[in-house]
Symmetry: C3
Subunit: 657 residues, 3 copies
């Protein structure tokens, strides 16, 4: 693993650049990302390019031995461009047009703007594509951020109609598959189809879903247009985009398909993320200064899958940020810990945001490796320490130069379309699929298991345990995969509950899974918090939350647990378990622990706040908790970093002697 940093030479006097570069190298940094918001400096007026400053910046950094990740500046179109193309501004679901004055003020469907993006990318790539220090290119920045996707513009409407025409060929086919006979929603032509916003009551769920599919494709093609330009000029560089945490607006698997990226990179802000996601208040309180122990790991494991085993952290939190409701100072040690955490999960690079805190503009309260007065920040000192530790340790250095992390024993299937479908049709207002997936993930991690997060279309061979927290539409062949697999399977509620056209399968849920597990879902019990059906599983008592299905089982399926009113809670056949409800943590643990044991894994209950991750010959242990603990290391462990006593916000690494 290597270290990087985000740097904005245009924001500082050029007299500082050489010193900055030298100190980056001194700190152990090898990569520096630049230029992704500098359009107004590269092209201050339409067609007037000013490269001199960027030439000098690149040469200064390269001269110090740094490798450069160059960003296309399309997330912040300059003012003159917006004035030239006024209808490039994005439109909100309520019909309001967003205005200039911050960033991401563009409609991803605007064809004139896309042409401008290709043009500036072409200009940059022509100039720097062959530069030996420029080893990677990032397109745009955090696509979809600030809810600018979806955009409900006229351009979106037009391109959505074209997308639908390609998908359905005839409007009659669309009317049939959408079920538009309902409420007289039949369209006379593709040109009659509106965007699904501002309807007096719910739009047709397949209308909403197809719009999300379309928008997801728009994001992917927006990237791809730039990626193709870059590849022409810089065939040997890595092409990438910096994704976000817990972000599901587009299908990252589809985005990353067909070689559109070489490595998946993402921006990791564990403390703010913990504050804003749907965690229990007790978790938010407990981990307010550390981030939840699984919140970054979840995305490390997800993006490692999306990147086909190659992933980077493009932006790593270096101290307090500015965008959550509250932004506490991380516990001392956490900035260092997060570096090792990414390392353990297989990151090739951890790049910090940002070299020096800017004293002006929107992110002045967002910390970096240095304070605005150019002294190292507390986080910056921790990064320097981690870099030195790795350099000094033969084992850590060796691992840092090794290849991909390798396959984990457990796979967890995460599916973006399922997220969209269950957002469109929550049925219980607190049902959120990603949260359910995260609950399964954290339960596995609390049992010390390493997890790969994978697509439903991934090759699932070789896993001992495969967890499907819910999969709305079973892909063709998926049931056969389950049938032929040697793994233990745990399948969650709502699996097989929909067709590709967002209808209930004719044989009822779980659809084709019935050929394997012979039961039907008769009714769905959407649970307000006061409704708490209880059950006991493997001696553990617990309740259902949010969602429960009434299953009618047939011969061949075994009922492992029933709710107090008699409905099945867990059914199984051979190596496949199906949970008919969203369980509370004790039941989820009982369910997964039994499956893990049947898979001959060795689930170990870690102390609260402790996580371990294996990579190569090394095992990393992390303590996000409030107390020092004994590391869950075997007696013969040899400590490469730290010791058996694992302090709070600390890490230790061992190898088996």
């Amino acid at each position: 693993m290597q270290l990087g940093v985000c740097y904005y030479p245009e924001q500082w006097p050029d007299t500082m650049w050489a010193d900055d570069a030298r100190r980056m190298v001194d700190m152990g940094i090898t990569h520096v990302r630049i230029a992704e918001f500098a359009w107004s400096r590269m092209e201050p007026r339409a067609g007037v390019y000013e490269w001199a400053w960027l030439d000098r910046a690149i040469d200064t950094l390269a001269g110090a031995g740094l490798k450069i990740v160059l960003g296309t500046p399309t997330a912040s179109p300059p003012r003159w461009l917006v004035e030239a193309i006024p209808d490039m501004l994005p439109v909100r679901a309520d019909g309001t047009t967003w205005n200039y004055g911050s960033r991401r003020h563009y409609d991803i469907c605007s064809e004139p703007y896309r042409r401008e993006c290709v043009r500036i990318t072409e200009a940059m790539a022509a100039r720097y594509g062959a530069h030996p220090a420029v080893v990677a290119w990032q397109t745009d920045n955090e696509l979809g951020c600030h809810e600018t996707v979806p955009s409900y513009s006229n351009a979106a409407r037009q391109r959505f109609r074209e997308w639908l025409a390609r998908r359905y060929e005839t409007v009659g086919e669309l009317n049939t598959r959408w079920g538009n006979v309902f409420w007289s929603m039949e369209y006379p032509s593709f040109d009659s189809i509106e965007l699904p916003n501002l309807t007096p009551t719910d739009a047709n769920p397949i209308h909403l879903l197809d719009f999300r599919r379309f928008m997801s494709d728009e994001v992917a093609s927006f990237h791809r247009e730039q990626a193709e330009v870059v590849r022409r000029h810089a065939p040997h560089a890595d092409v990438l985009h910096n994704f976000m945490g817990f972000f599901t607006t587009f299908d990252h698997y589809r985005f990353a398909s067909n070689g559109s990226i070489d490595v998946a990179t993402w921006d990791s802000y564990p403390i703010a993320r913990t504050e804003v996601i749907a965690l229990a208040e007790a978790d938010k309180a407990r981990y307010a200064r550390t981030g939840h122990p699984d919140v970054s790991a979840f995305d490390h494991d997800r993006y490692r899958g999306i990147g086909h085993d190659r992933f980077w952290v493009m932006e790593q939190e270096a101290g307090p940020v500015n965008w959550a409701p509250w932004n506490p100072v991380p516990a001392p040690g956490m900035v260092r810990l997060w570096a090792y955490e990414a390392f353990a999960h297989g990151a090739e690079l951890v790049s910090y945001f940002r070299w020096r805190q800017a004293p002006f503009a929107q992110e002045q309260m967002h910390s970096g490796l240095h304070l605005p007065d150019n002294t190292p920040s507390p986080g910056g000192r921790e990064v320097a320490r981690a870099a030195q530790e790795i350099a000094k340790s033969a084992e850590l250095s060796a691992l840092a130069q090794s290849g991909p992390a390798g396959r984990a024993p457990v796979a967890l299937v995460f599916d973006y379309e399922t997220q969209w479908m269950f957002e469109i049709q929550r049925h219980a207002k607190d049902f959120d699929y990603q949260t359910l997936a995260f609950e399964y993930y954290r339960t596995l991690r609390e049992m010390s298991l390493d997890v790969d997060i994978v697509s439903a279309h991934a090759d699932l061979d070789g896993y001992a345990l495969i967890v499907v927290p819910g999969l709305a539409v079973l892909p063709p062949g998926f049931v056969d995969t389950v049938r032929r697999s040697g793994a233990q399977w745990v399948i969650g509620p709502r699996t097989g509950s929909k067709t590709l056209d967002f209808a209930i399968p004719s044989e009822l849920p779980p659809g084709p899974l019935q050929t394997l597990l012979p039961f039907k879902v008769l009714e769905v019990d959407s649970l307000r918090p006061s409704l708490q059906p209880s059950t006991t599983l493997g001696g553990v008592s617990g309740i259902a939350l949010h969602w429960r299905e009434h299953l009618e089982t047939r011969d061949g399926v075994e009922v492992l647990a029933r709710f107090d009113d008699g409905w099945p809670a867990v059914v199984a056949r051979d190596r496949v378990r199906y949970a008919s409800a969203w369980f509370d943590p004790p039941l989820h643990r009982a369910l997964l622990e039994a499956a893990a044991r049947d898979a001959s894994l060795n689930p170990v209950h870690l102390p609260e706040g402790v996580r371990i991750r294996r990579r190569g010959p090394l095992t990393f242990a992390f303590n996000f908790g409030a107390q020092a603990v004994e590391a869950p290391a075997p007696a013969n462990a040899r400590f490469v970093l730290g010791s058996r006593t694992l302090g709070t916000a600390d890490v230790c690494v061992w190898t088996q002697a």
Copy 2:
């Protein structure tokens, strides 16, 4: 009472129709409602009618012996029509225009759209008006649903001005009666009057009230235009509209006046309704799987009054629905119970929504009598059971064929304009008039009393006890009615507090009621939850909630109870009691129980969750509670259905031996 069902032949292959019809009859169903969303199939292009499928559907159903309720399809105008009349879309209070893509996408004030509605109604009525099986016509569907009324369109503005000109004749008269000298709001002409939305601070309350009156009239005239067409072609059919529960956007008494409908029908969804109305969380939790025991009864009794003793349930919940925040499965037995409940309250027909759950489009998670795979749903099995029970019982069958339910001993006055006035001027943010009326109603019902809900303009002769939970404006003659009545009266706060022009009466509240009860309201005490004035009434202690008045009493009025700070809580004279506050449940019970005893009624405290209702010679008892109870039947009761032990979600019926 008869059974019905809502059916959508256009949504299923015609090969299924005959079998569906046969099984409806087998199930005991006599009526089937069709066609109310099928405009795009009746008229796929402007002026091109396709009746063949509907002819066939009607003939198939009629051929099986079913009676047909035919719906005009105006709640779902097809796409081509919206494209032809773009400004027919409704406009929200914030100025946004609603878009096509679901239903109710029309402005009720659009004259071009109204002409289209008359045209399609004329076409349908001309074709099917004389069909012997078509026994009733429903206009539109759930007028006012999805907050599409009021609409703040240009058409609404124009018609509002015309409505005002008819009401006030001169703008000077309007300026005077509205008090427009205040804040220089004087209008130079009717054409200067704006809709009352988007004002920086409150619009004039009479401006808001007149706009609501106008919109209420618009809803009524929209219906009436269609009703008149139908009557010309189908003079012997019942004309009706399906109203909604707890819905006060228009004045249903005015809507139903002058013979505009023959029977009041409404759509009853007790579980979702319980979830969304302003009940205490404890009530929502307790009745999450049964619906609150009074939530349907309240509207049964209200619509029975609106229908002049004739009412139907046009849509009855048959299982979990899809539109509340949570949608739990009803407790086993409830679908059957609700049928008997409607029966006991006087329904002529209970019609289920819907025959078969649609696997596609917006309502795919809304259950019906059958699952999408065409097997009976749990609710469907309960309906079949109820039908068989009624058929088998001589007493139940006889009652099912009897006439109206007859007058109850207690009348509760409910007034739509009062609802509007107190919404416009809550003064305490949690004051809701319908909720107060419901509190009075439930208190009466918990004491085993049968209740008629009536208009303030209704004939009130013959009642033993009349409850007025608050009546903003006393109609002319109302005080004389009270004076001459032999009944006991309980009158709630805010009664007589306003004039027709939404002003405080010159003699102060309670306005003309002072001639009967000599007191004045000096000040109004709007109570935040922490303010809890306490009092004792008939030995029962309790507090005021939300609202309390400071009464200055004069000779001739007796103070029955005082608050701890000395202000009167209940005053009375002869047979008339006035409550100066919104009381908590114990005080409401003490107040109404005393009045009921004085009225020689026999209030009996029912067990929690139990309700009884008498109809003809039979008494029905319902158990919405969690425990089995002994039915509150006399010793000599003979049970026609069930037994003295009344299980949870169960019903029993007895006659006196």
Copy 3:
């Protein structure tokens, strides 16, 4: 102190006027405010003035011996004017245009509307400027109320650009000082600058701040245009505007500068204000019928400073109002108490809103000195009592005729720009500067100290204790003022944290204060409620709330208290203390009490709900609490009003024997 009343002759038959005037005088009222909403009566059609009724009203009132405060009617432009200038309507941040139908329906940046305002003011002033009874002129009414400022109109955009051009001279200078290199926000010209609304993410904080500065200047110049007209015609009259409580939309110090007003007047509604501001629920509950003990005093003391020692209460609550979520009846005695409270804090005049409650239009539920039936209201009777008490007491009468209240021993610096900056950049979502200032104020008042609230630019000589609850930008010379001052200083967090251009100072916070207190703020710890760093100060334990800074101290600064994790909580040097956090009430008390003792003041802990205020030779004590208490008077006190036993909602006044 004198008494006044707000009166609306246009709303009542002229036959009532003479009687009203006579009874005002009988009641002890000397001043009457009229005409501020009567434009439609002064000028019913464009250019057609009707003065006769107003001549008569003024003569009737003056004839009875009353002095008149005449209001310009520009807060309620009549309908014909809005039709003549359609784009004079204000625009909300979401882009919606507010509509006619209430009041304040004007864009403060509209030049055509401003011309109309000058014209009507000129017409009024020409007619009444020389009238001997017209002793004061009020412009408009509650400028900025109902969030009509800021307005996001085209006119606002144009004038904002002009304002920026005047401030920065070149767009290059603006780009540099705004830091627009960030996110490519560089503007090619002033004409390219948008308003800072509707941006996908945060606008640049300096962009937002300059817009607020601009809008504040617009409010001031709107007033000034009218004030100049009035001064020409009525050179001897007082010019004023009625400000609001807890209102920070514009900089009242700047507004009041350069002689734009002669006296600061404000509208005091203590109960509704207590309900709507950010107080703890326990405080809202405790003081629901009295208003919080400091909520009016805070603005009395603030407006006394703004008015350069001259202040009035232009509108004083006389009973329940209509605009809070709940509007309870005040505890008996409070209307009288509030009169004495204003008196004690130095008010020259307390004027009641309103003479008689209007039974119609928007404020019909807003009480006055009389009920709508023209009998005195409970509040009206209390005012009459207070007037009689003052008239009867030689000491109170003498004080009522005395001059300004004189300087208090304690100054609290309140700064409007700090409010705006910390609203723009809360960083912790519950950080509100005015609330922090109020917390410091109430702590001082609970210790029986009299307080002046002053501008950061005020002359601070002569104070014993100066409290700065936070001051984002230190004005030039401020540090020298502190250095040279003989006072004790208590300085709160975030002081010196920004430059005038809303950037972090190059030397880090506290900026230039470092020359006096040598420490730097390394990081800011934004505290979610679950994070509660604790400390002990002077033996008192407590926690930090919302905000904490990590200070790096250098030699010369003493750490008076540290948090449990070692970071300094209070640092000091000589007479200057700096609090690094927002403290809970016990710690604030410990901090201020120590400083007060060092300042040789005598902080006395008053009983809960009791406050005292000294003016001239008299000390006033007020009891907002629920129990009678012994007044905190010295043994030799001689009671001028009331007695040593101070009942609830009561007042007593003593002088030292």
